[in-house]
Amino acid sequence: MKYILLFVCCTVATLAQAQRFATRDARIAFLSETPVEDIRAESTEASAIMDLANGQVAFQVPILSFHFPKALMEEHFNENYMESERFPKATFRGTVNGLDAAQSGVQNVTAKGTLEMHGVAVEREVSGTMEQTASGWVLDARFDVPCADHDIDIPKVVTENIAEVIAVTLHAELKAK
């Protein structure tokens, strides 16, 4: 009897494993929009993982993987604003709410959790969409990050060039792990 139960228990564990979806090439882009100039940057090296069993999600992106149209912008981003050597990664970990795993098509969901970047963790609720595909899930989200929330200091001389609130978009295609 106990062997059967052990077996069942292990099977459950394995099933839970199969409910994990992940990617290492999620796309995170952001836009700083001011009347003077629009600054865009993109990383295609973000990692994302989701556990359907408990609805947990986690995202991580290396700050150095964001690329800009100008090398100087990239240097300033890493050296002056994000201080990427001290804070090499931005992460989000939280829980997805409002997801019906059985349902097909695009679903509106929210994720509540902790967004950490530039060494400052902020509790956030982010809304986005999820869609089940043949191989996994596609996640899309769009949210704003106020620089001040993460102690990212923008000097007066460049306030005309850099927005106080940065619009971030995320696209992840998670595959069964």
Partner: protein, 293 residues
């Protein structure tokens, strides 16, 4: 019954460990397969002060450098501490790739024209890979002064000199970067028969960041022994880098007045101990002229 109890316990244990495991595991995923990353921005500008840093213009970037070395500070009020007369160098550097840069420049010092190429062929990596970056720099200089009317026949090729150097650099911390720079100077023509056409130097430089926009820089070049005694001395420079967005201002005090490699490495004549110092600046202005991708 006993079996059932045991089984239930096993299930509980299993479920519990699994739950714990799941939480840790989610973040563990990020630690797996972490590739080494390139260390960037060891120095702010293409030069530490006079000598090359490992930095090059990014792909498609045109860097305009305007540099001055004023007269002797020890000239005092009469020459406004040297500000009354300046040597100037104007240069353009262009990034062919993020690692390869070509440049031209003109110095008023010796009316010297130069063409140079710089290639960072090994990048410093974090988490494996090379602990240092290696950058090669070669410059061809053409002296533009009129030949003296002393009856000696000189050809145009005699105007040419070369410097080849290797910049071995390491960003030790976000604040501190070090560079070791061995150089070889070759002159097609020297002033007299005893002087060697080739002279070597070993240089060292540093950058220490005081904050995100300000750093202290320094460099020293030791002249390797020459076959005959000459008046040339080692070059020592100390300065500040100030970054203001699109510009990097470098302000410094140095005993070398020439701003191209042959002059400051091999032909420095003023001594710190005599107070023969020059105040100077480099201003670096970056323009993105080409496509980066």
């Amino acid at each position: 019954m006993r079996g059932l109890m045991l089984g239930a316990l096993a299930l509980l244990c299993c479920a519990f460990t699994h739950a714990v495991y799941a939480q840790d595991d989610l973040m563990d995923f990020f630690d797996e397969g972490g590739a080494p990353s390139t260390v960037t921005s060891a120095f702010k500008a293409g030069r530490i002060i006079n000598v090359q840093s490992p930095e090059t213009s990014g792909k498609g970037e045109m860097n305009f450098i305007i540099a001055h070395r004023f007269g002797r500070i020890s000239d005092g009020w009469y020459a406004l501490f040297g500000l009354d007369n300046a040597q100037m160098r104007m240069g353009l550097d262009y990034g062919v790739t993020d690692q390869l840069q070509v440049g031209v420049a003109r110095s008023s010092f010796g009316k010297t024209l130069e063409a140079n190429v710089k290639w960072r062929f090994v990048e410093q990596q974090k988490g494996g890979g090379s602990p240092v970056s290696l950058t090669g720099y070669s410059v061809l200089m053409r002296d533009g002064m009129r030949f003296p009317a002393d009856g000696i026949v000189r050809k145009d090729v005699h105007r040419i000199s070369y410097v080849h150097q290797l910049v071995v650099s390491r960003k030790c911390s976000p604040e501190l970067s070090l560079a070791l720079v061995p150089s070889l100077v070759h002159r097609n023509l020297v002033d007299n028969a005893e002087m060697a056409n080739d002279v070597g130097t070993i240089g060292a430089g540093f950058r220490y960041k005081l904050n995100n926009r300000l750093s202290v820089n320094g460099e020293y070049h030791y002249l390797l022994p020459r076959p005959v005694e000459d008046d040339f001395v080692n070059s020592l420079s100390l300065g500040l880098d100030i970054e203001t967005g699109g510009h990097v201002f470098q302000l410094h005090v140095t005993n070398s007045r020439g701003m191209f490699e042959r002059a400051f490495l091999a032909e420095t004549t003023s001594r710190w101990q005599d107070g023969d110092l020059y105040f100077g600046f480099n201003i670096n202005r970056v323009f993105q002229v080409g496509d980066r991708r």
